[in-house]
């Protein structure tokens, strides 16, 4: 059996992968990812989140599907388009683990302020 090297993640991709892993098995939509990232040091932006998610899906790091029913707050007559819900794939999880292991190998004096 040959081990395929894990895909390298950018910081934004790593944050998305981390948030998706935290919420698993529940999927998340883009705006929810932006909101959940707002409490950390690294924040996701509304303008680039979908471009990043699309790229991650092309790389096989996340998978997506359209939601099947409107959210509870939806009222008849409101504008509605099904939101795309994202989940981390095993390849995405493997890439995140590989990144975490690489970070753990960095000597402490380099990462401490």
């Amino acid at each position: 059996m040959t081990d395929t090297p894990a895909t390298k993640l950018s910081l934004t991709e790593a944050l998305i992968a981390h948030l998706l892993r935290e919420s698993a098995p529940a999927p998340l939509f883009g705006l929810e990812l932006v909101r959940r990232s707002s409490s950390g040091d690294l924040k996701l932006k509304k303008g680039t989140i979908y471009v990043t998610l699309e790229r991650m899906e092309k790389k096989g790091l996340v998978t997506s599907e359209l939601e099947t029913s409107p959210p509870p707050h939806f009222k008849e007559g409101d504008f509605y388009i099904p939101r795309r819900m994202y989940r981390l794939t095993p390849a995405g999880e493997q890439a995140l683990i590989a990144l975490e292991q690489a970070v753990a190998r960095i000597p402490g004096f380099l990462v401490r302020s």
């Binding site: 509304k46 359209l66 504008f79 939101r83």
Partner: protein, 139 residues
């Protein structure tokens, strides 16, 4: 079907690389001739190519948009066109899907602000991604 789509995309990538090379050559040549008009015309021709190429490549992906009702405060036709230019269906679905949120889609003004604020960074992100892909920097 998926395979055909991928090979068409790969062929278009080669075409894009050719266009980028011609553009660079055209810009350098016109710059050495001190022709600002030549440089601008070359850049304009490339921009027109890029926009039209993305529109054609994404026509099918956006067919469903014709049946959607226009959300309050958003010109759906124009927004669809911009997302086709950017070549991103997920951006289209994502930003319109955000309008389901009462904070964002609650008023026409808030919806318009949300879309405007998101489109510029999306444009730069797509441009950066495209350049990286054209020069094989995304591997």
């Amino acid at each position: 079907m998926e395979q055909a789509h991928l090979s068409a995309e790969s062929a278009l990538d080669h075409l894009d690389r050719g266009v980028v090379l011609f553009t660079l050559g055209g810009v350098v040549f016109n710059a050495t001739e001190a022709s600002l008009a030549g440089v601008l015309l070359t850049a304009l021709a490339t921009l027109l190519y890029a926009v039209t190429r993305n529109r054609i490549a994404n026509l099918e992906d956006f067919e469903f948009a014709e049946s959607l009702p226009s959300p309050p405060g958003i010109d759906l036709g124009r927004f669809t066109l911009i997302c086709q230019w950017l070549g991103s269906r997920q951006l289209f679905e994502g930003l319109l899907g955000d309008l389901v949120d009462p904070e964002i889609g609650g008023s026409a003004e808030a919806a318009r602000r949300h879309i405007r604020a998101a489109l510029w960074p999306a444009l730069w992100a797509r441009l950066r991604e495209k350049i990286q892909a054209l020069f094989w920097m995304d591997r």
